[in-house]
């Protein structure tokens, strides 16, 4: 074990996967000597050479297209899309080409698209979005949203070994902000297994990605007031671990669903719907969703802080639920 930041853990996951499997290679805008705009791939070109670490033109569609073709032809490409916001220009490649390919033709398309996502860095509407809901609707894609360094490494390694197209949304605010002990060498965290980050009997909070940390902060605060909030980190949205999610809810009978993306049509809507359909009998209070405001992501710190979900909103919601 060694202490790594979230960003270092992703780099280590890439390095281990590339060492373990000749077929794994990385490419994208500025991923070579520059190491990517967040430095995540820094040094990998020196270790693996230009064949396996390659800069590309500013052509997201062509980048994802290359990944699909290379995967069909037997490689395990791991392209980086500089910001998840920019994947819109490759949207058709993702949802029309990669997603239905195996269904239509029986050919596996093992690609992992790494894309920094999320807000909090004051970089505005084109570099801050959480876009997972746009893809959550599409059959044929897997979606991973790691919240911790060891999960980021372990989920990345599992994603690279998976035979389907995987969207790997890294939260850019976590890159240098959090660190923890991460297992050395090959480390896998299976896709589709949620984890309970904090136990509690009064209320369940279901979330993923950077919001896990917000939830834990709120849970700590709530504990000082005698409310024990259980925090479920989904880790992957597809496949979705309904069992862990519903298991926790059936224990507390109260649920908050939290995500950073705006609320309307978000992943939270699906989670809430699942709870209502599958465990309505266990509801002691109406489920609560907490999400970003229904606006594009603003730049001003004052505006962005107001835009993003806050620990206080979680605390208030938990108190309301317990008193319901």
């Amino acid at each position: 074990m060694s202490v790594m930041t979230y960003g270092e853990a992703i780099r280590d996951g890439l390095r281990q996967a590339m060492k373990a499997d000749e077929r794994v290679y990385i490419f994208g805008e500025d991923v070579g000597q520059f190491g990517g705009v967040y430095g995540i791939t820094k040094g990998l070109i020196n270790e693996f050479g230009e064949k396996r670490v390659r800069n590309t033109p500013l052509s997201e569609g062509a980048i994802i297209g290359e990944a699909i073709g290379a995967a069909i032809a037997g490689l395990r490409p791991v392209p980086e899309i500089q910001f998840s916001d920019f994947m819109t220009t490759a949207f058709s490649m993702v949802v029309d080409m990669a997603a239905p390919y195996r269904f239509r033709l029986g050919t596996k398309v093992p690609i992992v698209i790494r894309a920094p996502s999320g807000g909090g860095l004051r970089v505005g509407p084109y570099h801050s979005k959480c876009t997972e809901a746009w893809y959550f609707h599409v059959p044929g894609l897997k979606i991973v949203v790691p919240s911790t360094p060891s999960d980021a490494k372990g989920l990345l390694m599992s994603a690279i070994e998976d035979d389907d197209p995987v969207l790997f949304f890294e939260h850019k605010k976590l890159y240098y902000e959090i660190r923890e002990e991460v297992p050395e060498g090959i480390h896998r965290v299976p896709l589709g297994k949620a984890v309970v980050r904090r136990s509690g009997g009064h209320v369940t909070l279901i979330t993923y990605g950077a919001m896990v940390h917000l939830a834990l902060k709120a849970a700590g605060q709530l504990a000082t007031e005698g409310i024990e909030m259980e925090v479920v980190d989904l880790r992957t949205l597809v496949p979705l671990d309904e069992e862990t999610m519903l298991g926790s809810f059936r224990k507390t009978n109260r649920v908050i669903i939290l995500h950073e993306a705006p609320m309307r049509g978000g992943v939270g809507a699906e989670l809430e719907s699942l709870i209502c359909e599958k465990a309505f009998d266990a509801l002691a209070a109406p489920p609560v969703r907490i999400a970003a405001k229904m606006t594009p992501v603003p730049v001003s710190p004052i505006l962005e802080d107001f835009y993003l979900p806050s620990a206080q909103e979680v605390i208030d919601a938990a108190k309301r639920l317990v008193q319901y």
Binding site: P57, S59, G61, E66, G69, D96, M97, L105, T107
Partner: protein, 340 residues
């Protein structure tokens, strides 16, 4: 500014002796041209005559009638380990690359044993075991995927080439521009064949581009570009063969525009009333199969008996394939959820 001021990549025109073909190969090309035409005529006939309450063909036919020379000629220039990233008028290339008429009819009839398990129909198919990517409706969307295949070949040190055809309509798509530039920058072993049949559904080429020859765009990518007669199967074959050889030598991609005419509607549902009659009549005189047959007989010493025997063989193959595919089971509803 004259055309000479445009920075272009030098290009040596094809000479017949550069790529000599044996009598057998010349006849084989004839076989694939006629097989494509006969098969697609059958598809068209079924589409237009079938009982719509219980259709045999699900969906419509998207045919290459009148422009078979492009697909057949280009695919014939490939070697066994090469790949095809087809467009939607590439029946000829599918046949050259090993799809059988039986498999094609299974696909058109959406049978359980079709290559797509009945999940997709008509020309939306492919097969990785034959090194053919699966066509998708978004025009030009296989061009970047073709690049990826070429990248994988080079990654493993294989000397294989990817043939990536697309149409004049697709050439307006941003993704095609991305893919061409990307292929050029990476010197990928891809041969882009632009099938300019002058119509994107009903929209004539004049309403799609200001460029007389779409191969001029190649210069902008730093790529070899050439415009040729798409109705001459040998010209297509030779030009593509040279491009394939160049790509195999590591000299990068090419863009070959093949001028032709779509002699049917966009699909079998389209009566193409928007195409001027005299335009079709002019192009009909240049039918690629009729012209090629005349060439074989007049200049290559192939007899009418030989070409007729090819035609008879094809008729038999198509009838047999049709009967076979018709007898095969339809998918079961629950097959929808079966994992491939």
């Amino acid at each position: 500014m004259g055309a000479s001021s445009i920075r272009t990549i030098s290009y040596e025109p094809a000479k017949e002796d550069v790529v000599p073909l044996t009598q057998n190969q010349l006849l084989e090309i004839y076989y694939y041209l006629l097989l494509t035409r006969t098969l697609e005529n059958k598809v068209e006939y079924i589409c237009k005559s079938q009982n719509l309450a219980a259709p045999l063909i699900i969906g419509k036919g998207y045919l290459s009638t009148g422009q078979e020379a492009i697909s057949v000629g280009a695919a014939y220039a490939l070697e066994e380990g090469d790949w095809l990233a087809p467009s939607h008028r590439d029946m000829g290339a599918h046949l050259v690359r090993g799809f059988t008429p039986k498999e094609i009819f299974l696909q058109y009839f959406c049978r359980a044993s079709s290559v797509t398990w009945g999940r997709d129909s008509n020309v939306h198919f492919g097969d990785v075991s034959k090194r053919i990517l699966g066509f998708a409706s978004h025009m030009g969307s296989l061009t970047p995927v073709a690049n990826g295949v070429a990248m994988a070949m080079r990654y493993r040190g294989e000397k294989n080439v990817v043939l990536s055809p697309f149409g004049d309509g697709a050439s307006s798509q941003g993704i095609v521009h991305e893919a061409l530039n990307y292929a050029a920058v990476n010197k990928l072993a891809v041969v882009f064949v632009l099938n300019n049949n002058h119509y994107a559904i009903s929209t004539p080429i004049e309403q799609q581009t200001m460029v007389e020859s779409l191969s001029l765009r190649a210069a902008g990518y730093g790529m070899v570009g050439k415009t040729i007669d798409g109705n001459s199967v040998l010209e297509v074959y030779k030009t593509v063969k040279e491009a394939v050889d160049r790509a195999r030598r590591g000299e990068g991609p090419s863009l070959i525009e093949c001028k032709t005419m779509r002699m049917g509607g966009h699909g079998t549902h389209d009566a193409m009333t928007y195409i001027p009659k005299n335009l079709l009549e002019n192009w009909k005189r240049r039918d690629p199969i009729v012209g090629y047959e005349r060439y074989l007989v007049e200049e290559k010493g192939i007899s009418h008996d030989q070409t007729e025997s090819v035609a008879r063989r094809i008729e038999g193959e198509i009838e047999e394939a049709l009967e076979f595919a018709r007898s095969q089971p339809l998918p079961k509803a629950e097959d929808l959820l079966r994992e491939r």
